[in-house]
Symmetry: D2
Subunit: 245 residues, 4 copies
């Protein structure tokens, strides 16, 4: 099912890893080629799940707290790029009439939040500027904007019910942060029975390695890793072959 | 809140990353020191969430399909080590009377599975040997053994209800695979409002880098990264100060 | 939207009601005609939701503990009749290729059960005869048989994910007990975004009044109340107009 | 476990029941005494579940759309009475420091609603007056106010996670409508592992028979049926024996 091939390399790599209770940069000696070989050898696959009969677009946490550099978590360059790419996909989706669900993290008081270790996340209180959609995303008019308290778009929200009512079977994932809320949303979308398509250039992170590692993790298990162009192609193809019900 | 410090290094690192639709080994040039600095700078923290008032132990997917080398996904050395360490924690938990929930992936027919890209996962049909608990884990007598279809212990199971009924507020996570079902279980336990403690030497993966990267991802957001010794200490401390209700 | 009309009646009715903490038979004086008039007047409606594009059949708790008179909760005449009618619908569904999900209540130990006030429910331990499907239901070969701990088919099970993967938008509900697990399953199916069709002669209860009252409750809010004949007609119609995907 | 006894009565009762597809008032001849006898005989019980170690108060849908008579569903006398009684319980809860979670039905656009058959429910769009808490409830300052789309407080909300984080094991239920959202909330609270206490005079319906029948349904299966006085007593008792954590 897979045809991964790698040149052999013995290498010292540096990763973030826990040394006792403390997160550090550590050196790990390993044969790099085994990094994905071990998974392919176990039956993990990058064979595509593909698009099904009806896609929806989800846009995760493109709120000012993450996109506006005036806020502590805001303004990562990869996130900004991802907003620009996502707007392109939103336009195709809007034009084709496929559902667009956006979400933001927003708490009604501190008691409603789980025990986030990221201090500034707890400041995402409903009604603050940090919980407003990025203006570029808001301008595209998502069909529904949901508030959530946890990493996944689907946790503690009616998102799955909305998609079920629309008979959606494929979820295109965009948003931020790849190694946090995107990862969680992908896992839930998969668990809920959807075909999952992650548009990688529509997802942003603070760190490229965490971004890539998480896409690799989900790409060999749960989801197809695509890009904005491919998402738009698939949406256009759906549009040309479907009368919307 | 954090005191991470790193020496500066400019480095070419090799990671698994998607090149178009294909997962490859890619070289990424980056300042390695920024790998976690960027997160600390954004407010991510390794300050500990800590243990609360009542812990439970969850043991994820230590089933023969993953622990027995006669099966395609079975027998990774890190997984085997993790079983041994988990048995130690199970004994402490059992002795202290804290709840132990184990789970296995097991499907009732192929229609009940989500769209796993890992072929051998779909062979984990209820009643097969691959869905039996590893004998070393079974011998410790977990209180409840749940079947699941998705990565997270909590998805499509009554696990959260069982913990709520027991008034548990802290979940110690063990099992496999770190970059798959452990990651998903940690995110759900966190989202559900629990304090999450991941015993890193009780979790196994096929690949050390994926293992470490996922612990780093969750350790700065959702969970404390501990080890078997610390889990046993915390359980013993709970035992000494509590009459069980 | 509704055209309910009733003749006026002043009446003393007898219902089960709590007098302090004790459930008693009480007399309630009321204008009977207002019983549903008040709801219609508030905008409640029996206008039909209708069948959508793809139905599934769910068969709730037709297990020997409820259908076999040798067990304390077993053998209510209305339940027995409902099994017979459900078998007819299962055959139509099987023949048409629409998914059939059955479930049973079954616990893995007493810790996995919520705090049921019905003593014999707690005896529905996995592996006992009470948790076996009624042989008439088993003989029809449901696609998936799920175990659950709570009233709703959807609680703590992957049922919704299975239906999402099959692109189902309409759920035909059968099983027992109408005023317990059927009611809960109907509410969840509705909340999850499905069109809900309750086949009233395929649902059984110990008491006709509780049965009817619960159908009335859900029929004016969440679901269409149909019967086996209408379910079979709808299934046949779906079969004639669809190539299955 | 139960000692229900009834005098024998042969009676013609009138209930709302479906005659074909149409909801009508029908006469049903039955021995009234068997109404609950059949359940007691099957092991159903009104033995009390009781209060556990830490209660929370939930206040369901006391929003102007249901409490203000200017709106189509608003102003049922029983609902108004229930608001008054609930305020008393809220004051006790606030004073004791137990968590109070309120919720309202509020949709972000019509696509986010399930297929409600009650027309005016679909008008409960976020931002409208109908979705504001009743001023008497708002004045008591619930800790968290959640928006929901479905009958149950717990569906598509983080309510369970909030209660888990607070180590709550007992849920006191108040609100409206008894035969709709209260019923659904009770079933979910039970399924989630909580002890459930329904304060009957704090719950309102449009119709007394539906109110009583639903309390009877849940009281013999899932919940204790109490009243405001008993809820306040239990809260005061908790307050006197606990230092809040």
């Amino acid at each position: 099912m897979t045809s991964l091939s790698f040149e052999l390399q013995l290498e010292i790599i540096h990763v973030q890893a826990y040394d006792g209770l403390v997160l550090k940069q550590l050196k790990i000696e390993k044969e790099l080629t085994t990094m994905s070989y071990v998974y392919a050898n176990r039956g993990y696959s990058d064979a595509l799940t593909g698009f099904g009969s009806k896609p929806a677009l989800v846009v995760v946490d493109f709120q000012r707290g993450f996109t506006d550099s005036q806020f502590p978590m805001g303004g990562a360059p990869m996130v900004d790029q991802a907003v620009v790419s996502t707007v392109r996909v939103m336009r195709a989706a809007k034009s084709a009439g496929i559902p667009i669900i956006a979400c933001v993290i927003a708490f009604d008081g501190r008691k409603s939040a789980p025990l986030w270790k990221i201090g500034p996340v707890l400041d995402l209180q409903a009604g603050t500027e940090e919980t407003q959609l990025d203006p570029r995303i808001a301008a595209e008019g998502p069909d529904v904007v949901l508030s959530k308290t946890a990493p996944s778009l689907f946790f503690g929200t009616p998102a799955a019910a909305i998609l079920t009512r629309e008979r959606v079977d494929t979820v295109i994932v965009t948003g931020c942060i790849t190694s946090g809320c995107i990862r969680a949303t992908v896992v839930d979308a998969f668990s809920l029975g959807f075909r999952v398509q992650v548009a990688k250039d529509c997802c942003g992170d603070h760190d490229i390695v965490a971004h890539e590692q998480n896409l690799a993790d989900v790409g060999r298990r749960y989801a197809d890793i695509i890009d904005a162009d491919r998402a738009i192609d698939a949406i256009d193809q759906w549009r040309s072959t479907n009368d919307r019900d």
